[in-house]
Subunit: 429 residues, 2 copies
């Protein structure tokens, strides 16, 4: 299967910089096979006219809980404890088999429509997420949420056992669009002893880690009181960072924490909207960038954002640190767009996130005939400061068109909205 | 001309709160004539099916410079002085007659598409803005930018004379969609003596004021050094606030400044993205709200945002103060949506900004069958946290449909993009 995107303006990555060029892009099966100005083949199965289109690498949502899309706008403008204990958990408690499949699909609709082609997910029913990923055609790294108090915590071991089975069941499905991680939830829900078990299991399975770290001041204070060290120092001590680790949030850090993240090659998954919405502040992204720590960008869940539109998040990332640091030069458009693409791919360990030969063909075509993208003065700036996701016209994942002309090709959006609303009504009746 | 929007979910304003109800909305000529569950007339000229639609009051962009849409993404990630003196002013210097008409229309395309039905504009060629407003069908308050060093400043007096003539020329055009203000630019570009002349003129013309105040720390320091008082105290002393005043920014204030704004009924026009992007910080919006000072919401220009999409700004307004104050309860969704609608109408002095009988029929219909608006748990929350403007399907201004089914009905968007890009190329050649 060979596809040509003909004569398209494209955001390429060359010599560690973004470069915007007119070119032909050839896709062979699931990979980008050619980028240049000459034709690569004599015949193509599909030709897409690149006129008035901008090709960008599909965005990568590096931290979300897609099953929570169902809880969108259920708990806003309230403190964190009210949010979690009185609003979210009582609803979560009423979920039954199948519910999170539909809720995840609703999130996938929103992500594909706004140009996201891959996401890193954390939840406790990976098989439902895997089914939604398989059916929709999107790419995902699914991580199994784990909590445990001791090394032989009964619930914890059961969950680890299930995760191992899920990994076996799903690793060959979805044409290679699915990979797995283990997700010890956070330092305050996983003891160091239990983490040792998780680390051994992940090493045995040959997979990486997805976790939450140093999200709130109270988390850091509590861990300091209990262990006399920061959450990040504690995690290093357990050996967690000897595995490829993607750590969400990392908002409240001391100097040593930065050194630990850097030394261990931990990727930080920053979630600007969620950190603001729950009153946790602004992560020290300018310093991560300065220190050379890899930064990826996430939306967190629709219950704490309440949108899975990564264009909005790129805009947040490029603006809030300028405001918080009174520095108009802090976090450039390029740095924000990088975090949403190549930085995300690095954090997720997937061969995507840029338009280069040999990368997975995860490509988004945007409409340049929209007022917000004109004049087309500085394309990368416009992706950070002007685009809102509504410019997305065609989405290709793994070489296959999953959205075209404003329509999702693989899934029935109307039914997904219907089913999700029905579930919402049931759990709130 | 009588139009019925039939059986539509609508965001109404009742007893100082938002209320979401299914209803029929009847428009007679330019006004909302009826809202309720019974039919109001036997026959309608137009019937719009409200199925799967959400009716909201058209958004009001309370501070922009629409002619600058042309300069979008021309000067990003640079300090303010570089932005203004080395990037924006050299381009501005090359503008010729007609240029700002097209640039303003480009901004209007973006505003209408994202649900904005009125804006408060500041610039030096009001006749070009007026022409764009007239042709597009949008509503606007056009304010003539003024600078002057003395009471009889030659350039200043010429500009005031032109403004008086523009006011006479344009006050009866655009079916009542146009009103005027005078816009003394800022305390650092208008001396108190010149301001006296501006105040006398505005009083004589019976119109209000639009200005910039206390945007940056350096502005406040410079005015303090020169006059031994804050910019806001200085403006009060000149008598400016005896006229209806809408003051953009108000980021850096002392306690007395809040008291002055409140006592004089000054409306604050807050511009979250612009304040962040230029490194000016976060305006003290939570305190404005607490003190009962009217807050309206603006995008500022596309050169310092770089988007005129007010949904993005509502999202900024509802998130950034939670982050900056570590307070998940700071600036609610309702408060942010109010600032973008009724708060804006109050600041602009226009009879719009809410769906109520007797108000101007400025109405936006959004598509509820979009993933980001589902589940439809809390509609006002979803407008602040989940919508991005792409849900807009129909826009009615002054009782007339100006956008429907994704198409602008009054202006030729493709030509507007073409002309604006041609101007951009010329001034940069």
């Amino acid at each position: 299967m060979i596809t040509l995107i003909k004569n398209v303006l494209a955001v390429l990555r060359k010599d560690d910089r973004f470069s915007v060029e007119k070119c032909n892009i050839v896709i062979k099966d699931d990979l980008i096979d050619y980028i240049g100005d000459a034709p690569a083949y004599e015949k193509y199965d599909t030709v897409i006219d690149g006129k008035n289109r901008l090709a960008i690498p599909g965005l990568i949502n590096a931290h979300t809980h897609s099953y929570m899309t169902l809880f969108r706008n259920s708990a806003d403008d309230v403190p964190f404890n009210e949010w979690l204990f009185n609003r979210i958990l009582p609803m979560e408690d009423k979920l039954i088999a199948g519910d999170s499949y539909w809720s995840t699909l609703l999130g996938i609709c929103e992500m594909l429509r706004s140009g996201t082609t891959a996401f890193l997910d954390m939840y406790i029913f990976p098989y439902e997420t895997a089914r939604a990923v398989n059916d929709s055609g999107i790419r995902a790294v699914i991580s199994r949420g784990l909590v445990g108090e001791t090394a032989d915590d009964e619930g914890g071991l059961r969950r680890i056992g299930e995760a191992k089975q899920d990994f076996i069941n799903y690793k060959d499905c979805a044409e290679g669009r699915l990979t797995f991680r283990l997700a010890p939830h956070a330092p305050y829900t996983c003891s160091p002893a239990f983490l040792s078990t998780v680390i051994d299991t992940a090493r045995e399975m040959g997979i990486g880690i997805h976790t939450h770290l140093s999200e709130s001041i109270s988390e850091v204070e509590n861990i300091r009181n209990q262990y006399s060290m920061t959450p990040i120092a504690l995690m290093e001590k357990t050996g967690l960072f000897t595995l490829p680790t993607a750590a969400a949030h990392c908002v409240h850090l001391d100097d040593e924490d930065f050194a630990i993240l850097k030394e261990n090659g931990v990727s930080v998954l920053t979630n600007p909207a969620s950190n603001m919405k729950l009153g946790n502040g602004f992560a020290p992204v300018p310093r991560f960038l300065k220190e050379g720590i890899n930064v990826a960008l996430g939306t967190d869940s629709a219950a704490s954002n309440n949108s899975l539109n990564l264009f909005r998040e790129i805009n947040n990332l490029s603006l809030i640190h300028k405001g918080a640091n009174s520095d108009a030069v802090s976090v450039s458009a390029s740095e924000a767009f990088y975090a949403a693409t190549a930085g995300g791919a690095k954090a997720l360990g997937i061969n995507a996130g840029e338009l280069s030969i040999g990368k997975k063909a995860d490509i988004v075509l945007m409409d340049m005939m929209t007022p917000q993208l004109n004049p087309p003065t500085d394309i990368v700036s416009s992706l950070a400061y002007s685009a809102n996701g509504s410019e997305v016209r065609t989405v290709i994942v793994n070489g296959k068109i999953v959205l075209d002309g404003g329509e999702l090709k693989t899934i029935d959006e109307e039914r997904i909205i219907f089913e999700t609303n029905r579930i919402f009504d049931r759990i709130n009746s």
